[in-house]
Symmetry: C2
Subunit: 473 residues, 2 copies
Amino acid sequence: MFNGVFMYLCIWASIYYYEIEDIIPLSLSGTITILVGFIIYHSAKAYHVSSGMTKRDGYLIVTFGWVLMAFSGSLPYIISGTIPEFTSAVFETISGYSTTGASVLNDIESVNKDILLWRSLTQWIGGMGIIVLTVAILPILGIGGMQLFVAEAPGISPDKLQPRIKETARRLWIIYVSLTAIELVLLMLGGFNFFDALNHSFTTMATGGFSTHNSSAVEFSPYIQYVLIVFMFLAGMNFTLTYFGVHGKIRKVWENEEFRLYTLMIAVVTTVLTAVVYNSGWANGDLEKTFRDVLFQTISIITTTGFVSADYTLWPHFAVMIIFMLMFVGASAGSTAGGVKIVRHIILVKNAFLSFKRQLHPKAIIPVRLNGKSVNESVVYNVLAFMMVYILIYTLGVVTLAALGVDFITSLGAVATSLGNIGPGFGLVGPMDNFSNLSQPVKWVLSFFMLIGRLELFTVLMLFTPFFWRRIH
Amino acid sequence: MFNGVFMYLCIWASIYYYEIEDIIPLSLSGTITILVGFIIYHSAKAYHVSSGMTKRDGYLIVTFGWVLMAFSGSLPYIISGTIPEFTSAVFETISGYSTTGASVLNDIESVNKDILLWRSLTQWIGGMGIIVLTVAILPILGIGGMQLFVAEAPGISPDKLQPRIKETARRLWIIYVSLTAIELVLLMLGGFNFFDALNHSFTTMATGGFSTHNSSAVEFSPYIQYVLIVFMFLAGMNFTLTYFGVHGKIRKVWENEEFRLYTLMIAVVTTVLTAVVYNSGWANGDLEKTFRDVLFQTISIITTTGFVSADYTLWPHFAVMIIFMLMFVGASAGSTAGGVKIVRHIILVKNAFLSFKRQLHPKAIIPVRLNGKSVNESVVYNVLAFMMVYILIYTLGVVTLAALGVDFITSLGAVATSLGNIGPGFGLVGPMDNFSNLSQPVKWVLSFFMLIGRLELFTVLMLFTPFFWRRIH
């Protein structure tokens, strides 16, 4: 119903830009979406009252909720005729809601502005959905160590679960909306018109990466690019930390290990790659532009936003490889970024390191410590399981794409960028290309990967296990 | 001392082939090696008597034992002038002892036969070393779940550790030597002379892959290739299972999950790739040759032998990708094969699958089961740690090589093939090339990777942790 309302809101753009032909498609999409939502809401309410919610219901509701959003969200594209083909329209929608930013549109600038607004909105809505998902739902389902950072969330009171979740989500949404508004103003101060500023603010804060320009951020002014850099960085931060930062608890931000590594990685990668790329003669030896391009791409990939300011595939091999590896990093948990997330890498590396110590002293209990506290062994186990499944699913994805005839480099990049909700990849889906030329089966596979990546793998994949459907309790 | 004796034995080849110039180098190498061994043996014996052995001593002795072997084993190459450069000679020796099979020799056929015999012997000795290491030492050090299959070893009696280990090692060595002898005879029946048959038997059973021919197995007759296929397969089996098989306990072999998956993977990969490669017009549509080439390469890579019967880099992308992935499989634990090993993959995949079940029922205890028995949680944890370290180290290796100026594809292949003790890779170190053109730093890095891969990572890397050197107890 919420999505349907947003479709209706896009009609303001139809009116302002005289795109009268889209008013009926948008109204129709909005009406259908709200109606379907209304029916489901009331059936679900009845069910909830009669039997209560189980953990199983949680997995089903989240997964099918997102699938339903993918289908209803594609209505404006299909009915308006912007993307008439069903597969491509669903791909674009999932790419939106999952905040990936991979597009099938060849000429973005020729698309009506109201539809582009809807496209950017799908990402912004997706970002909002992810915040509530990570704060409220994934920790209850116990997925991949997502409990880790939620324990730090503001407004915590373990005995009152319901109010805490609502309150936490509300506070983080305020941060999200405020940052979007501030970015909007800063972009307009840099010469962006309201439409461009609004769309890019939506897709930055969602770490989505849809742009209203064909060449993404390549032709933007240095000022605009720096604004995007700052807000991509903020969008990749744990919103809980931002909340603390805003309330003056700077120390709490700086003492957070994930935030420190996030900052450190960006600093180190940018420094090294600036040197490497500068030496290769990039930008005719313009050091500032080289630094800016490298910083932009590093932050864009690590935060899984996917804006493109430079064709990184033209950089030296070493730089390309690092960019590829960044696709498996992901930014902070509790942000709108996708991928593995830095906190998981911290747990994994610390645990790998400590496993040497455990081997030397098999009887000693040697816990992983994070932010000065011992991490529960079951959380470490969950993180290990998450990483294993991530690698397994990634490998399966690459094999599947290769079996569908996609070349090796494109497969490696397309699956990494889909699973990590990034956007651009390598080969045929490089930063200067889009996903329109891929075959329909490949688009479905990648849509599936965007969805499972966004829902932290376990939420969706759980439905494919036999024991999920077996009623034990 | 044992190695020194083998160097002396190579003098028989010098005499038989009139390679008189090598008699002094071989005698000198043998004498130095035996002398150094004698000195260390007696110092160590004194130490052992005075203070007993700790677990720490285990790591140190194994690692430095292998490093010492690498240096002493290179003496015949250096003193004879076959490989005068120190770095390359050590690389070739480590490649031998670690049963990798990566070579720096450009023209193998021009090398004196006694030196080639020594080269093959390093692999055969390495294979013997690995058997005793996996049976006797790694389980005590508790490395990466190596306890798993040793519990199944013949002659087990937990209260009498010392005699059990000696007896087990003796029984497995008998299998090893017998299979080498049988292969020798079968190769000679196929027209090989004694020298070629002996060398290839040595390097097959060690899953080493050094050949005495420049083109490896490309020009061998189908009969010879099939013999190699069979014995590579046997060398990649758990020698304990072979022992049971020889003693008529066929059921015990077939019920072993690792063996079943080993067989199944080879069957599935060979079937699929035969179809793919055949369709690409390989071998002018000769189905038998295509099947043989695919089967040969599949077994050669999965067992980490590294013989080459066909340039697999010319196959379709999909086949190349599968070959690359096979480099991360490894054959059975308790064989002479390197790499991750299939039993670890079984544990990892089962555990990943069960982690879904655990998420659904957080309070239930859901153990991983192998061969019908529950696997201890600490073993699963060890396997997970091993895999994480493997991935971490692999990634670091690829970055290091790229930073040293090696291109992306070559880096990916060279590190995978070194760490997995396979032999051929991709790019500049593809199946038709060798490692001679790499720079000295790259050779050292790869030598290090061959060593840590062979010693199951933890044995060597332990020495690089700060807590290893801290005396807590």
